[in-house]
């Protein structure tokens, strides 16, 4: 069924997104707006429609952007078309956020009334300002006991110059003041610009894969219009396509007969891979191409790499299929087969960041029911060999013989940490303790400081975010971008279990940290590897030199004291459970190693 919306006057279109830190209530607000505009009924309302994946709901963040169209009758009596473009809420998806914002004219800046502004909010706010968006600040969760809306209003006012009394105060949860938000969207956000007569230019700000319709591109039309029969062309990838259908999100996909300048909707491309239809690319008409694409297209590169292995070798094919399916929806996931001496056959996967990696890992386990082992994440190193050749490696196991190495370079990041000023000292200590270099500071509001550093990515991906959170009691927030590759004195730290090196446990570290990290890793492994029927030595070594060791004592007692007639069934179940736990472990030589051990390097506490 094709839906014919009233042809909208461009003056009555508003495109906007919501900027918020994780947990500040973005999804709840989005739900309220959908309800208030009658886009979805109470009955249809499953909490947080925009976050469609379970995982997102659980983690309280939006992983992929989404869009939805609302019809809103303003108090001027006119019906407006409001397009809400949801943005991913995590630091790993900064590029996707920037594209989603570029598709808008305005943004709601949602700040939690008790938490105040955080780095994520700030980073996204800067992105929004860069995209020239009209910002409508909103203080949310004013009904919470810990709310301090006046202070937060003052903070926002310092930041944006908006008079505190003009800042909306709402509770998305209770629905308080939601009407005022809708009014502000219409009154303060400008209608989209663009030339309806110019050749088509539509920005892809997100996509998903549909088994029947191929890649569905989420687009914002900047110039011209799209009709279902148009032959289209992607300007960066050069792919050509005849749309399967075009339409809008209402919030489900609803076909339309056209998308005009300023509108937001989708194009079901029929393309078989999201790689051909990348976020940030510009869609134009094949018959009348635009001379210039929209600016800002980038090909996001994976920054973090890890081995993903099936616990049971027989699941290898299933793992490959699952990765292929995930990649259909996620162009930033890359993988290739890898073989480990310890873990046999698996895949080396590349992710945008640690969070992205966790999401993929959990989806493989939950949605595809796979038992997997993920090795400690690594970054991509550039190794300059004595013969002048440069090789890139993304796994410690690939590091060439030290005798051949002239220099190892690693990626450095620019990081911004936004924190209440009282944590200045602990943040400084944390970052410099991880080879971070202080660059500068700014006080966007009186009680908060933004600290700028440069830091190796390898230090950032190992538990840094958790350490930052715990030391600042959750108040500090973090954002980062790639800076450059820099050489340093790096070595491979090998781990030997029962005298056998386990390649999947090797890491590349700074020489000065090798001893400390080796010790910490060995004691952590001693904790994580359960006692076996025999004693197991654990050693850390650099080259042939053992720098730390510990011994896991042999297991002495594991037997049910009592087992009489009545207990058999229950005791049997206990044994079955125990057996299952054992099966989930990976046997390396004679030693059974649980999955957590392969991530031990992430769990080292900085003492």
């Amino acid at each position: 069924m094709v839906y014919f919306p009233p042809l909208m006057n461009r003056e009555r279109i508003r495109n906007f997104s919501i900027i918020a830190h994780i947990d500040h209530g973005k999804s709840t607000l989005a739900d309220r707006l959908l309800q208030a505009t009658g886009t979805i009924s109470e009955r249809e309302m499953t909490e947080q429609v925009l976050d469609s994946m379970d995982l997102e709901r659980e983690k309280g963040v939006t992983i992929k952007a989404s869009a939805v169209r609302m019809q809103y009758t303003h108090n001027d009596g006119q019906v407006y078309e409001l397009n809400l473009i949801d943005t991913p809420g995590h630091v790993d998806f900064g590029y996707e956020v920037s594209r989603a914002m570029y598709a808008c004219e305005g943004a709601l800046l949602v700040v939690d009334a008790s938490q105040g502004i955080e780095a994520q909010t700030l980073a996204n706010l800067y992105m929004a300002l860069e995209a020239d968006l009209e910002i409508i600040p909103v203080i949310n969760k004013i009904d919470l006991p810990a709310a301090r809306p006046d202070e937060v209003a003052a903070e926002i006012s310092d930041l944006l110059g908006t008079p505190p009394e003009e800042i909306l105060r709402i509770s998305a949860k209770s629905g308080e003041n939601i009407a005022a938000v809708l009014q502000a969207v219409v009154e303060r956000i400008p209608p989209p610009q663009g030339d309806p007569d110019a050749p088509l230019r539509a920005l892809i700000f997100d996509s998903h894969y549909d088994a029947y319709k191929g890649v569905v591109a989420y687009v914002r039309v900047f110039d011209g219009a799209i009709a279902p029969n148009d032959m289209l062309q992607l300007m960066a990838t050069q792919a050509r396509l005849q749309p399967v259908e075009i339409g809008i999100f209402a919030p489900e996909m609803r076909p339309t007969d056209r998308l005009i300048t300023g509108e937001v909707g989708y194009i079901a491309t029929g393309l078989k891979s999201v790689g051909e239809c990348r976020v940030g690319d510009t869609i134009t008409l094949a018959s009348r191409p635009a001379p210039q694409p929209l600016p800002g297209y980038r090909h996001p590169k994976p920054m973090v790499f890890a081995g993903v292995y099936p616990v049971d070798g027989e699941d290898y094919e299933d793992l490959r299929d699952a990765l292929a399916k995930l990649q259909l929806n996620d162009a930033s996931l890359v993988y290739e087969p890898e073989t480990s001496q310890a873990l046999n056959f698996g895949f080396r996967c590349g992710f945008l960041g640690l969070f992205h990696m966790e999401i993929i890992q959990e989806r493989l386990e939950r949605e595809y029911g796979l038992d997997i082992i993920t090795t400690a994440p690594s970054v991509e190193y550039e190794v300059l060999l004595r013969n002048g050749e440069v090789v890139r490696i993304d796994s410690p196991a690939q590091l060439p013989d030290p005798a051949e190495i002239e220099e190892i370079r690693e990626p450095w990041m620019k990081i911004q940490i936004f924190t209440p000023t009282e944590y200045y000292g602990v943040v400084m200590e944390l970052v410099t303790g991880r080879r971070g270099v202080f660059i500068g500071q700014e006080y966007p509001t009186p009680n908060r400081v933004q600290l700028d550093f440069e830091m190796p990515l390898s230090e950032l991906i190992v538990d840094f975010f958790d350490a930052l959170k715990s030391r600042t009691r959750g108040y500090a927030s973090l954002d980062y971008q790639f800076a450059e590759y820099r050489p340093d004195d790096l070595v491979r730290l090998d781990i030997l279990v029962n005298k056998e090196p386990v390649d999947a446990l090797a890491t590349i570290v700074h020489r000065d940290d090798a001893y400390r990290k080796g010790q910490a890793l060995v004691s952590k492994l001693k904790e994580l590897i359960p006692r076996q029927l025999f004693a197991v030595p654990i050693q850390a070594s650099v080259g042939s030199r053992v720098i730390s060791r510990a011994n896991i004592k042999a297991l002495r007692k594991d037997v049910l004291a009592k087992c009489y007639g009545g207990d058999v069934t229950r005791k049997r179940k206990l044994l079955e459970k125990q057996k299952k736990g054992k099966k989930r472990m990976k046997a390396i030589g004679n030693v059974e190693i649980p999955q957590e051990a392969f991530l031990a390097v992430l769990r080292l506490r900085d003492e």
Binding site: L533, K553, L555, R556, K557, D558, V559, L560, A561, K562, C563, Y564, G565, G566, D567, V568, T569, K571, R572, L575, E576, Q578, K579, K582
Partner: protein, 388 residues
């Protein structure tokens, strides 16, 4: 009916629930005992009816709970009913589990007189602070008295239960309890490592950090110490947790470990007969009600109290024969009996796990039987796991 059964009767009453206990028992419901005893007798009658004849039995075990809370008249009624509804194969072993704090001279005399010939006393420890910690409602003096009265009453088969591996328990304290137990010259001793059972007060204390987790390595040392001491004192270990003077192994429990059929009556009791594992309704009130309201006959081995009857398939029976049988540290699982029972050779059916476990030093062949090595006794789960 040519199979001979063991008969288990469950008495789910206690004055106080011990801190570590997760058995099906209720404190403060002693007022239900007369009605419960009647229900138990009715259940026996139903079982006999279902069987179509008096099922033959060679052991009878009154377990709990605290069966010694049964007034002597109730005990007598129950044993009489057992005599009426079952065919007794002499010599019948009739065990009564008893809390030493509930006994007196007359009671023991009367119990012996009505047929009880084996007494299993929950001594647990000779240390007052350990008994307090476990929330036992007796002291070691009660145990000495109970043993003396029991001997005078005529009991020639006494068993003592002890618990080891308590949090912060020292080897020396344990050795003392063990010596005190040996001083009492029982025919049989059961030693149980303290196990944290989910939902017990003890496991709550540990979860909340009020009590340290028992140290498994120290428990292993205590076990080894006990093996040595008991061996010197002339006891034979015949099961992972059980020792007896020659000829005094508990015949009732042997029936379980040999995976042979038994009938379990009473609230929450389990049985294994005619290819079914049966479980009776758990709550004592529900149990009484069911038997009061019962009319229609059941199909053996069910009774009106049966909540579940789960058929045991051959593979399960085989694996349970190993899980249970390997607990028998001397006799193990006999090759011949296994083949007779299942028509398959044990060493062929389980060749891979047996090979692995022998190589690991946990299993051994001995006199045409498969059994745990001394090291395997402490690592039994690692062995049993391979057979589930």
């Amino acid at each position: 009916m040519d199979t001979s059964y063991s008969l288990y009767l469950h008495i789910p009453f206690c004055r106080h629930r011990c801190a570590y206990c997760d058995f099906n028992t209720y404190a403060g419901l002693e007022a239900l005992i007369p009605a419960y005893a009647q229900a138990l007798c009715r259940e026996m009658a139903f079982l006999r009816q279902a069987a179509g004849e008096r099922p033959p039995i060679h052991t009878l075990f009154l377990g709990g709970g605290t069966p010694s809370l049964l007034p002597i008249t109730a005990l007598e009624t129950i044993l009489q009913a057992a005599h009426t509804h079952f065919s007794w194969h002499a010599p019948l072993e009739i065990t009564l589990e008893a809390n030493p704090g509930t006994l007196d001279r007359d009671y023991l005399r009367a119990a012996y007189a009505v047929g009880v010939n084996r007494l299993s006393l929950g001594m647990q420890s000779a240390q007052p602070e350990e008994l307090r910690f476990l929330e036992r409602q007796h002291d070691f003096g009660d145990v000495i008295q109970a043993v003396e009265w029991a001997r005078r009453a005529g009991f020639e088969n006494l068993s003592l239960d002890l618990i080891y591996g308590l949090p912060e328990q020292s080897l020396a304290r344990w050795e003392q309890s063990l010596s005190r137990a040996l001083d009492l010259q029982p025919e049989h001793i059961s030693l149980y490592a303290l196990t944290l059972e989910h939902g017990t007060p003890l496991s709550h204390w540990v979860d909340r950090g009020l009590v340290p987790l028992p140290d498994a390595d120290r428990a292993a040392e205590m076990y080894e110490l006990a093996c040595e001491r008991l061996d010197k004192a002339g006891f034979e270990q015949y099961e992972i947790s059980n020792w007896a003077r020659p000829g005094h192994a508990c015949r009732h429990n042997l029936q379980y470990w040999r995976n042979l059929p038994y009938l379990g009556l009473g609230a929450g009791a389990h049985g294994f007969a005619a290819g079914y594992r049966t479980v009776a309704v758990r709550a004592s009130t529900a149990y009484i009600e069911r038997l009061q309201n019962a009319g229609a006959p059941s199909v053996f081995p069910r009774t009106p109290a049966t909540a579940e009857a789960i058929p045991v398939d051959r593979a399960t029976e085989m694996s349970e024969t190993l899980i249970m049988g390997l607990r028998l540290t001397q006799e193990g699982v006999s090759l011949q009996r296994f083949e007779q029972r299942f028509g398959q050779r044990l060493e062929e059916h389980y060749s891979a796990p047996i090979r692995r476990l022998r190589r690991a030093g946990l299993l051994e062949w001995h006199a045409e039987a498969l059994r745990l090595t001394p090291r395997g006794r402490l690592l039994g789960n690692r062995v049993f796991m391979e057979f589930v």
